[in-house]
Symmetry: C4
């Protein structure tokens, strides 16, 4: 029996969840889940519709982007996942979608401003949108360079990937992550929700101000601070 | 057997209804139901997904915010509910959501204008949106102060909580109430519907006028006036 | 057995259809169906949720607005239906909703321009929106006067109620009709669809022109003209 | 047994799929599938609701627009399908809908700009919107001329129908095609998705730039280029 059975099962379930939550149609997205100790991650196979997916279709990849187990070709975005896992040791899962409102902000090339407590319950910063990729990076190792682009964006802006668990790739769409694959998918849904709220907010009031700093801190800390009192 | 069994069951069902009506995802909301005679209310536990909820998970709280019965921690918004129950003796249930259009008006920091009869069938005023909370109140007893903020808003504007059964907390989201928990949930759905209609109205016609006073009065009175003739 | 059994059954099914099509929530709408020979129509009872409705709950009304059969109070909009049936002998059913996009155009106090063939497949005119009712008519026989308002609007604009089977009451919402109750409900769905399309059209292009006259005529005639060739 | 049984079955399933995907209501659309060797195509009958459709209701038509098999009248858009099949030998299926966002761009008389990778994964050009038809063509052989209009548009703009598998007819709606009927339906869904994303993009940022050329090429080529590496 495969020693990656549980990893593949977790990856499979997270991919299905993406579909159930209405975040993907057809093959427009992928989730992976990592085992840092073994140095491998499981990822959705490329171009297979969610409705046809089985646990054993998941492809196991090592940190050199080589297939360790699986009969199918892995997601075309595999190298982006790999680069993030190699550089960010504390994340356990990554999700990528073409969800409607997240993509629309990415296409608009705009950060999503922090307008309210729904946003601040999850992170204290605007959701970053990277610039479109430089030409030499596109013609180079494109999917690897998408990972580089994400890390560069976080470095330039001084963002902490353990707090800001989401990014928009300019003109493309969202990547989200978390301590496991289910959390990465949860963050994709939160991002899509916050993206729609922000869209509606600026339609109602183009001059809507960002949430005040004390409210950002209050809401983030009551869920994530050292004296957090939200949840069980 | 618990002497709060019925109270908890009613609270549980109202919370589920919030989910069924599409007003919440994950744990983004809560409903409570009160027994004024016993001086207690039942409320959703904090951070528990709606899909996992059972009637016995509801937490019973007294008017000093102390847990009377229940193994779980109550909603982080418990003190807001408590404050409203203590001050408004005629309400039987309270609901809080992060529903899309309601939150977007709250983030836009705008009252929802009374544009039509759907609105006037339920209340005769614009739906109030409070200002963002003052800094000293945020760092103080935040959830208690959210209740204070709601009452202050109603006092300043001369609103009657038995007619206007809903409010938007600026940058946060809606609270609604009613003579029981089911009515509070009904009001959350009505608010969300009216919020979407008002959003679309100003997109179609930024100069759309408020509903004329006689039509406001006519529609409100035929459902709620002393000669009401709507319903059975 | 009631001699109105079939009439009530047809009315019941059309009311349920309104709910199934997503055009109403709670009690926000009503359908009636008429028997011109017997001089009566069946209509939804007032304030009863669609999910609780049974065929025998339908109320049978004569053309003097008197209840002929039924234990419940009829829809508060009964007099509007009655006035239309008395004056427009060729209609067999009427529907009223508070559907989202239809209401939003009514609240914006704008006719819905004929922008495309989806509209022209059903009627050749802009969908009329009446002005808000005059004060003396509101304080008078309000629901009866809503019917008067519709007929006056059609007379002033020279519209044919057998071609234009829909109207928006300014600040209120849509009424639609047809040769039977099912067709009235169909028209409510068509109106809602066309209303959403027109809304999106002006968001994309505020200067979008009306459909050219020859295309209006072509599309209307291929479904409804004397040489119609659409359908079986 | 009919020698067109498989053709009709494929056509039937593709028509149902249009409905399942939320791209049509009532009778607002049609799909056909062709057998170039036999010189016939199967198409949805005119004006029959999707919910009533059976495989044997599909109508088989030859390239002179004559019915070869079938008891029902074919879609009123049959001549458009026929013209495309006669002129474009490499397409196997065609779909026509009145889907919400696709129609709204058509009514706005605007091409859909290529704003992101979701679009570029499928084609490298803006999605073309034809001008409204000239008067003499409308009063002539209208549905045939709709086909002429599509081909003229592709010729004028130098578009390749094997790459750009979709078009908007100004003021009307979308036609899509592909190497079989299922692919044509897939393209209708992709078009509707891209149309909604582009709509939201210009609402968020009216000055949103088109996707840069290298990213267009990169995304198109990784799915469709000679070194494509997307999919299995």
């Amino acid at each position: 029996m495969s020693s990656y059975k549980l990893l593949k099962q977790e990856c499979f379930e997270a991919n299905l969840q993406l579909h159930t939550l209405g975040l993907v149609i057809y093959t427009f997205g992928n989730v992976s889940t990592v085992d840092h100790d073994k140095g491998v991650f499981a990822i959705k196979p490329s171009g297979v519709p969610y409705t046809n997916l089985r646990p054993d279709d998941m492809v196991v990849i090592d940190f050199d982007n080589m297939v360790v187990e699986g009969a199918l070709k892995p997601s075309s975005d595999t190298k982006t996942h790999c680069y993030l896992y190699k550089n960010w040791e504390h994340i356990g899962g990554i999700a990528h979608t073409h969800a409607m409102y997240s993509v629309s902000w990415a296409q608009a090339q705009k950060d999503i401003p922090i307008f309210g407590t729904t946003h601040a319950d999850h992170l204290t910063k605007d959701i970053p949108c990277t610039s479109p990729m430089d030409d030499d990076l596109i013609v180079g190792n494109y999917e690897h360079n998408t990972g580089v682009q994400i890390l560069d964006c976080f470095t330039e802006r001084g963002l902490d990937y353990q707090e800001v668990e989401m990014v928009l790739i300019g003109n493309h769409g969202p990547f989200t992550w978390g301590n496991n694959a289910a959390k990465a998918v949860y963050n994709s849904k939160v991002l899509e929700t916050v993206a729609q709220m922000a869209y509606l907010t600026i339609q109602i009031n183009p001059d809507a101000p960002r949430l005040k700093n004390l409210l950002i801190k209050k809401h983030y800390d009551r869920k994530h601070g050292k004296n957090a009192y939200y949840g069980q």
